[in-house]
């Protein structure tokens, strides 16, 4: 993605540092004032909660503020390490995440490669425009539409299956074995077109001469995709993979919460919904913070280790 950043303007960068400190502030004080309010806002709403994670090591008492009352060490961590509900949520998170990456990481790449092969620019543009649209739909609406499409009594899918194969209606949203496919495929529906933008932008940036050289060598269309296009966008693919693996533990929490029913709980309870239920529903604030902090730290470790690995193997990294 390096090619997309904008080179700094030399006059901006060099103009200032040579002046003395006093001159600097006399000249630029307005910029500091300008930054003051947003910076305070940023620190309050992004960093105060970050510090608030010390609640994981402190006992929460009502009325004693968000940082807890007294130190308890690692007591909450010990507790959830022995909690079968945590391990079940941990397992569910990993299965759902890996399933999701397995399906929804390659599909946008394939979609972008295919779309790039469409010759009519107008048709290409049309498909692109339509395919982004689901990204803008609220997850509540997606789940509501799914509920009607999959309804056992009148849903389109059950009627189709009944007419074509004579199948009995299936109560998809209530049967635990359909929870993961529903989650993953609705992600496919919502985000394929959107994610493909990044790859399409990368494909557009591929050097034309490479294709011309391949033409001279007599490469077929398919060979050009395999030997020119894919290697050229490999760095984008790697960056996206790092980001995907890094967010392994942070699934679409809101969607899982909306799909959650008591009957599919043993597959649909993920770490984030566990944090929500123990924290906000049962008000075990410290305990829930400990679980949330654990998953946050694992997330950071995942990003930095995949980033490190990718740097070693392919020379690509996000920082």
């Amino acid at each position: 993605m390096t090619d997309l950043t904008i080179p700094s303007k030399p006059s901006q960068k060099d103009g200032a540092p040579r002046t003395s400190r006093r001159n600097h502030f006399r000249r630029y004080w307005q910029l500091y004032i300008m930054m003051l309010l947003p910076l305070c806002h940023f620190l309050l709403f992004k960093y105060a909660p970050l510090i608030g994670n010390i609640l994981a090591f402190r006992r929460f008492r009502p009325g004693m503020g968000p940082y807890g009352a007294d130190w308890v060490g690692l007591a909450y961590f010990e507790r959830f390490f022995q909690d079968p509900a945590f391990w079940s949520a941990f397992k569910n998170t990993l299965i759902l995440s890996f399933g999701n990456i397995l399906i929804n990481f390659p599909i946008p790449i394939i979609f972008a490669l295919l779309l790039n092969e469409v010759r009519s620019q107008r048709f290409k543009k049309f498909v692109q425009t339509i395919s982004y649209m689901p990204r803008f739909i609220s997850v509540v609406v997606v789940i509501a539409i799914l509920g009607e499409l999959l309804s056992p009594s009148s849903g389109l899918l059950n009627r189709l299956l009944g007419d074509l194969f004579g199948m009995e209606p299936i109560y998809f949203v209530n049967e635990p074995q359909y929870f993961r496919p529903i989650y993953i495929l609705s992600e496919t529906w919502q985000y394929t077109g959107w994610t493909a933008i990044i790859y399409l932008a990368a494909i557009t940036g591929v050097n034309r001469e490479l294709f011309e050289a391949a033409d001279i060598d007599g490469a077929s269309r398919f060979q050009k995709v395999i030997y020119v296009t894919i290697p050229s966008i490999m760095s984008t693919i790697m960056v996206m993979l790092i980001l995907n693996v890094g967010s392994l533990l942070s699934l679409g929490f809101e969607k899982v919460l909306l799909l959650y029913t008591p009957s599919n709980a043993f597959v649909s309870d993920i770490i984030d919904t566990l944090v929500y239920r123990t924290g906000l529903v049962s008000q075990n604030y410290s305990y829930a913070t400990a679980i949330g902090l654990f998953s946050g730290i694992v997330g950071v470790i995942l990003v930095s280790s995949t980033n490190w690995l990718s740097k070693k193997v392919s020379g690509e990294s996000i920082y």
Partner: protein
């Protein structure tokens, strides 16, 4: 759909690709068509499973009915307010922040940039954020919906990169003309950044329009946004179709549910074609690097 390049005949691969693309378009569209059809069909047609993608027995009863629900109207109004106010606040704070941050020579610039990027990978988490907002006594007020989400780090970085691309000569000319930095921000930088502002504004507005979870944890029932109202209809917390006979209840509920889905998604679908030409350029300008 005309094929522009004349020198290559349409191959089997081309036909296959076109077929796949048409399928993709249909898959994106069909759910909405189905909802539209359900919302416009008569209860008899729905109960007899006659409705698929074309409405049967067209009528606007479902829409008439939801327009007469005071709660629906109120929720819709709330969403409208959260979206407008939230987007304005967010654009105000973010553009101020991004403009100052686009000046690399400011002291502490590097540190603040690091703080922004770090907070993208490691966020405070649900419970600490909730407790902070509760302790600021924002719970149960509209500020709980508007303030905490005013800065989105990803959008902020897009803006910073966009502002950096504005030629320094323009600003220098403005300084010579006697404008101070606030003046430059207001009458030079912002007008020059319409595509970026439209993109970020769209993302932010969509975020506020679609939000339901923050409404659930921070607001009272009387302040709920429309998405939370829809979610309550879907999971049965809010009853719809009251006043009708028990037998039609589920089918009436179905057309009403669809009508709520259509009306609550309509503004996005209407705005989308106007704004979508901006966001591809906006998105590609500001990829993650700071």
């Amino acid at each position: 759909m005309s094929i522009k390049r004349k020198n290559r005949p349409l191959t089997f691969a081309d036909v296959l690709i076109y077929a796949i693309m048409i399928l993709v378009v249909l898959i994106c569209f069909v759910p909405f068509l189905y909802m539209l059809a359900l919302s416009l069909s008569s209860p008899e047609a729905i109960i007899n499973n006659k409705v698929s993608l074309i409405p049967v027995g067209i009528n606007f009863d479902a829409y008439n009915q939801i327009l007469n629900y005071p709660n629906f109207f109120r929720a819709y109004g709330h969403t409208f307010f959260y979206t407008t106010a939230g987007t304005i606040i967010s654009l105000f704070i973010s553009t101020l922040f991004a403009y100052a941050m686009s000046k690399r020579f400011l002291k502490g610039h590097k540190l603040v940039m690091k703080l922004i990027v770090f907070s993208m990978f490691f966020s405070g988490g649900l419970i600490p954020t909730y407790l902070l907002i509760a302790n600021l006594h924002l719970t149960g007020t509209v500020w709980a919906m508007l303030l905490p989400f005013a800065i989105n780090q990803f959008n902020l970085i897009i803006l910073i990169n966009f502002f950096r691309a504005i030629p320094a000569e323009i600003e220098e000319a403005a300084i010579i003309d006697g404008l101070d930095y606030f003046g430059i921000w207001r009458s030079v930088v912002l007008p020059l950044s319409t595509p970026a502002l439209a993109t970020i504004g769209l993302f932010t507005a969509v975020f506020f329009w679609n939000d339901w979870f923050n409404g659930l944890i921070y607001l009272n029932t009387s302040q709920y946004p429309v998405m939370l109202y829809l979610r309550n209809i879907v999971n049965g917390t809010t009853m719809v179709g009251d006043g009708a006979g028990a037998a039609d209840k589920s089918t009436i509920a179905m057309s009403i549910k669809s009508a709520v889905i259509i009306t609550s998604t309509l503004p996005i679908i209407i705005l989308y074609p106007f704004l979508q030409r901006f966001f591809v350029s906006g998105l590609t300008v500001g990829s993650i690097k700071g």
